[in-house]
């Protein structure tokens, strides 16, 4: 079987890419191993994430399906009296800020809606599991072997471009040798434990800040926090994030740990859940922070979580993956029409563009964790407007980054100085988070380092 574009993974990144490709006149093949609907985490979008759905003409459908609208995020600090609110905003064509809303979604429903919509707009869905990538004699990716779900037979699907939208499975990076190495991220020692609860106490409404469907964050102490994200009138996604060491120390079952944390993490969280009633299993994701270098190359592009994830606290995951699905469509079309065919990495420019954007997020997240006071000062008073841009996920070069707020964070993080940005150096542009933030890990990033990966450098743990 042959196709111009093969998409591995039918989540929102793959579905969004398929729909934007359809607009470019390209009808891709999507391979998805699971049968939708299925549970998935990553439920809250930022303003820029909502804009992707609006650009796809799906806003009306989102309202019709009554996905909770998010007016902003409320963050409670250590003292219960102290909180701050960041409204969801958009920017018009003259870059004037306006009040907006975005959505929070039950991923089982939302992902199915997106995938069905991609198929109705021309994508072909194949139910099967991607195995090995097909490699051409010049080392480029020319498709994938797929084990078909109905027949259990392996079939080759050849492609001009393969989009890895496999999420945290990082399908292509885990095959080794095709992408650059996968590094641990700065927050690799964290663990997230989450479920869904009912019969909660929501805010009363009346103002944007007290809107009943807003996302709420509870900060207990550094690296220890919780989320409260309404998914419909009844159900709320609630998660606890903490250092893995703290979880292990407690010697509790995952469920017992989760329930105790709901009671103890923060008075504002326990107040919202007077009686704990779970309507979903308790799920766990450890070591979620990583980065894949060289995530684009001849015949392939990795999207969203398939190449990088930093930290879930400000809900950037779904937004970044859908935005990359949007950005990739014209790039793929140009390539299919003959652009950059002779280049060692035909998608270097796209890679650099994406990497530079996520580096902005990383600086924002690192500033939040390492310099909470300065961060709050920016949000509260100094750079309120620029901060709403970053919280909205407007992080790319054409979105007026770096802003003065970001430059100030870089000063604080001692990450000043321009790194070289060029086509040739695209694969070395973003220094992996682990090494960037922990200078002792920098050896791993040096060219010709004898250590291949952060995992190896760290040794047995």
């Amino acid at each position: 079987m042959k196709t111009d574009v093969l998409i591995v993974g039918g989540g929102p990144g793959g579905a969004a890419a398929a729909m934007f490709l359809a607009r470019e006149g390209i009808k891709p093949v999507i391979v998805e191993a699971e049968t939708f609907p299925r549970y998935h985490i990553g439920e809250s979008m930022t303003g820029a994430g909502g804009k992707v759905l609006r650009d796809l003409g799906l806003a009306e459908e989102m309202y019709r399906r009554k996905y909770p609208t998010k007016q902003g995020v409320k963050v409670y600090g250590q003292s219960t009296a102290g909180s701050w609110f960041v409204p969801v905003t958009g920017r018009d064509e003259n870059w004037n800020l306006f009040e907006w809303d975005t959505w929070q979604v039950r991923r089982s429903d939302f992902d199915k809606m997106m995938l069905d919509e991609a198929v109705s707009r021309g994508a072909t869905l194949i139910h099967g599991m991607a195995g090995k990538p097909l490699l051409k004699s010049d080392g480029s990716v020319g498709g994938a072997q797929v084990r078909m779900a109905d027949s259990d037979k392996v079939q080759d699907i050849e492609s001009e471009v393969l989009l890895d939208c496999s999420g945290q499975a990082t399908w292509l990076a885990n095959r080794g040798g095709v992408t650059g190495p996968k590094y641990l991220g700065a927050y690799d020692k964290q663990i997230a434990i989450f479920s869904q609860v009912v019969d909660t106490v929501r805010d009363n409404g009346g103002t944007r800040e007290t809107h009943k469907d807003n996302a709420v964050i509870f900060y207990q102490k550094k690296f220890h926090w919780g989320w409260f994200i309404p998914l419909d009138e009844q159900v709320v996604s609630v998660g606890i994030v903490c250092p893995s060491a703290y979880f292990l120390e407690k010697k509790e079952s995952i469920r017992d740990f989760y329930i105790r944390e709901l009671r103890e993490l923060h008075p504002e969280l326990s107040r919202r859940i007077p009686e704990i009633k779970l309507v979903e299993d308790v799920h766990v994701i450890p070591n979620y922070s990583y980065q894949v270098n060289g995530f684009c190359g001849k015949g392939f592009i990795c999207i969203g979580d398939a190449h990088r994830f930093i930290d879930p606290i400000f809900s950037f995951g779904l937004t970044v993956t859908m935005r990359e699905g949007q950005f990739v469509a014209p790039v793929v079309r140009a390539y299919l029409e003959g652009a950059n065919r002779d280049k060692a990495n035909p998608f270097a420019e796209h890679q650099l563009f994406c990497e530079t954007g996520i580096d902005v997020l990383e600086d924002v997240l690192d500033s939040f964790w390492e310099h909470p006071l300065s961060f709050a000062h920016c949000v509260y008073s100094r750079y309120t407007e620029y901060m709403t841009d970053m919280f909205a996920g407007r992080i790319y070069g054409h979105e007026r980054q770096p802003t003065p707020a970001l430059l100030s964070f870089r000063k604080l993080l001692k990450r000043e100085g321009e790194r070289e940005r060029s086509y040739e150096t695209a694969d070395q542009y973003s220094i992996p988070i682990g090494s960037r933030y922990h200078p002792e890990r920098a050896a791993i990033w040096e060219v010709n380092s004898p250590v291949e990966t952060t995992e190896k450098w760290l040794g047995p743990r």
Binding site: G77, Q78, S79, A81, G82, S367, H371, P372, L373, S374, F375, A376, H377, C378, Y380, S381, R382, Y383, A405, S408, F409, K411, L412
Partner: protein
Amino acid sequence: MDEPEIKAAVKTYILNEYLPGEDPAALTDTTELMTTGILDSIAVLKVVTFLESHFGITLEPHEAVVENLNTLSAIARLVMSKKA
């Protein structure tokens, strides 16, 4: 405005806002405001807002750090450097 005047103004503000009824002598130039928990982070931000409006200065985020705000002396040095 010199350093003693700055210290006095900030001291008055903190005593009135966060330590009502406290003996003024208990708040010295070197009393640690943040690291001892006299002021939580939200209170410190309000102190920053006060400094900006009262002294007509603007603090950059990299200046709003514990080292610059932990004592009356540190605050006075910060304000002086911004006014210089």
